[in-house]
């Protein structure tokens, strides 16, 4: 069941760990929809410097090295809340990571789904690339996978409501996000770059690669 506006408020105001925390909740009246709540664009964006990149292959290097590589090839753009700072311009076809201004904590019996807002979608702004599901128990900012599918550049300002989150009631999870075997984004407080290289499958692939290099049987 998707929560409606009153159920969302009831969850936001609960005193215990079943509360939905959205911090800051700047203007509830202006953010609350019939069955969702709007979220705003944060101050930090990340874009890849493609000029120095050939490919990403986590099976070739250790996770720590890949993490440093990703950091090195990622340009961080910080934007302040004021038109004088110019905002962040997303050109047609360009991909960037951003994050919600809000830090969101979901209880163990609610999942969330990030969706774009129609007004922004109509000018070509995509706010996630299939990674819009939020696990029960998640804490942190939600990463926007921003893409401009339109034909004109879009200037994005901090604090704009570019997306919304709907909440789904689930039977209480016994293994919520923080207790998953491999959590990568719990507690993130900014725009988190992908940590796909931490997937355990790459451990296996790395071992196989090393063995192959030594001339062992695959």
């Amino acid at each position: 069941m998707i929560l409606n506006e009153l159920q969302i408020i009831e969850r936001l105001s609960r005193p215990d760990e079943t509360r939905i925390s959205i911090e800051p909740l700047i203007n509830l009246g202006g953010q609350l929809g019939p069955s969702s709540i709007d979220v705003r664009l944060g101050t930090e964006f990340k874009v890849i410097r493609r000029q120095q990149y050939t490919h990403l292959d986590p099976s070739e290097k250790e996770p720590r090295q890949i993490e440093l590589d990703v950091k090195k090839y990622t340009e961080e753009v910080l934007v302040r809340f004021h038109p004088q700072y110019g905002g962040f311009v997303l050109h047609p076809g360009e991909f960037a990571l951003g994050s919600t201004l809000e830090y969101i904590c979901l209880p163990n019996d609610l999942a969330g789904r990030l969706e774009g807002r129609s007004s922004w979608s109509r000018i070509g702004l995509q706010c996630h690339v299939t990674g819009g599901f939020i696990d029960p128990g998640f804490h942190g900012t939600i990463t926007f996978e921003l893409c401009n599918l339109g034909t004109v550049p879009i200037r994005l300002y901090v604090g704009l409501r570019v997306a919304q989150i709907a909440f789904y009631e689930v039977s209480e999870s016994l293994k919520p996000y923080p207790e998953k075997m491999y959590t990568k984004y719990f507690g993130q407080a900014g725009t988190g770059a992908s940590r796909f290289y931490k997937d355990y499958e790459f451990d296996v692939l790395r071992k196989l690669c090393r063995r192959a290099k030594r001339g062992g049987a695959l």
Binding site: I9, P15, N27, L28, G29, K71, L101, H139, G159
Partner: protein
């Protein structure tokens, strides 16, 4: 040395080292290929010191009887390693500088709103030395040399922040001390009080007085947060009672800050408790250290009083730290303890009453059916709008955030110290600290946005 002090010191040392390691890692991302070998060299040096310290830490942690800590003297050698790191740091000057976090400007603008709106421009400069400093007025200095400069340029203040504390808002409080120096110079606070009565035998006295002025301004603006930061720094000093030509001895400054907090007299119980805990740790740390004769020649109480009076004239009431009420203070620290940012706040009692109303309305909606429901709908909508209107979170303030942040860090530290720590936990402490930094920065980031959007 009590087990508590030894554990606290160990945690602080580990934090400092981890920050240095992270600094080198961050620099490696922006330095050019030609600087890479030098960076490797520093990494290796740090690694060697680090390995040695981990070995010492392991030794301390494995002691069955905490009393042995003193005998082994291992903690003191850990602290001396921090001094070694302080020697390494200035040498990293050759690396490119990073940019300061934007939140540091939000903090300064909020902590010194009237000053910064009065033609003052502040720039935060990151620098390699573990020190904080100020260039009180660049334009004024240039005007002396370049007489063609415009008559009344804006005041350009540069405050220097130790680069390894770039991401640690808890240490940004020292910038308030530096802003205090700039204010002192602009308003001539220190000069106006001490000159005729300066004890002739101590030529450093006038300089010391200006430091006390800056300390007083900082604590007036930031409250206990400045005290916590100052004591933490003192704890890690390899010789906290030594004679400085530029500053009064650290323990004397702490004495004055403590007096100042007592005089402010607005502190809640939890805050008082933490202040006392920090004071006790410092007292224990310095009890066996040699004291210098200057400590007794100067009538410090008289000096403190004169500084206080002079600052009172210049620091407006509106600038002064105001203790947040107990409920808010506890709620903010509790949120931080749960890892939730605190850029805004809703009173818990109000939240509870909203919850009750929302539950009641949900119940009524469920129970009311058919024609009656149609009839009641306008009333239900009215109730919903009222609930939404009541749900009005207010932005907090960076000073409140830093004060809550220090209390939270203290709670974490005690928790860390009271557990049976194994060396495997050393990294966990650093992860916890890093997360704390990120949550504090996140809290500050949203305040200006919240304030502006509320006006709509």
């Amino acid at each position: 040395m009590t087990p508590r002090l030894s554990r606290v010191l160990l945690a602080l040392v580990l934090e400092r080292f981890s920050r240095f390691t992270k600094y080198l890692e961050d620099v490696s991302l922006i330095c050019s290929e030609s600087e890479r070998e030098l960076l490797e060299f520093f990494n290796e040096l740090l690694h060697r010191v680090d390995e040695r310290e981990i070995e010492r830490a392991t030794r301390i942690l494995s002691l069955p009887d905490p009393a042995e800590v003193e005998e082994t003297d291992a903690i003191n050698s850990l602290i001396s390693a921090v001094a070694e790191m302080d020697i390494l740091l200035p040498e990293t000057e050759v690396f490119p500088r990073q940019r300061p976090s934007l939140e540091v400007y939000d903090f300064l603008e909020k902590a010194f709103p009237e000053i910064l709106s009065d033609r003052w421009q502040v720039t935060v400069v990151l620098w390699p030395v573990y020190n904080f400093a100020v260039e009180p007025d660049l334009a004024e200095r240039l005007k002396e040399k370049l007489d063609w400069m415009i008559e009344r340029p804006p005041k350009h203040v540069a405050v220097y922040l130790a680069e390894i504390e770039r991401d640690n808002p808890l240490m940004w409080v020292f910038l308030a001390h530096e802003m205090g120096h700039a204010l002192d110079e602009a308003k001539n606070i220190g000069n106006s009080i001490f000159a005729p009565e300066a004890p002739a035998q101590i030529e450093e006295y006038p300089r010391w007085i200006t430091e006390l002025v800056a300390d007083t301004i900082a604590i007036r603006v930031l409250g206990p947060a400045y005290f916590y930061a100052f004591t933490s720094l003192t704890l890690l000093d390899s010789n906290p009672t030594r004679f400085y030509s530029s500053h009064p001895a650290l323990h004397k400054r702490i004495e004055m800050l403590k007096q100042e907090l007592d005089l402010m007299g607005v502190l809640e119980n939890k805050t008082k408790e933490v202040i006392n805990e920090y004071s006790q740790l410092v007292m224990e740390r310095i009890k066996d250290e040699p004291k210098f004769p200057e400590d007794t020649i100067i009538n410090w109480d008289d000096a403190f009083n004169k500084v206080r009076e002079a600052v009172n004239k210049e620091v407006k009431e509106s600038h002064k730290f105001k203790e947040i009420n107990r409920k808010e203070s506890e709620a903010l620290a509790a949120l931080l303890g749960r890892g939730i940012p605190i850029s805004s706040f809703l009173d818990e009692e109000l939240r509870h009453s909203i919850n009750e109303k929302a539950k009641q309305l949900l119940h009524n909606l469920k129970e009311t059916t058919g024609v009656n429901r149609q009839k009641q709908l306008p009333n239900f909508k009215k109730q919903l709008n009222k609930i939404i209107k009541d749900f009005n979170e207010k932005p907090t303030h960076p000073v409140k955030i830093l004060n809550a942040g220090w209390i939270d860090r203290w709670n974490e530290l005690l928790d860390w110290c009271s557990r049976a720590i194994s060396t495997n936990e050393l990294n966990k402490w650093w992860e916890q600290v890093q997360k704390g930094d990120a949550i504090l920065k996140k809290s500050m980031e949203a305040i200006p946005i919240h304030e502006e959007l509320r006006k709509v």
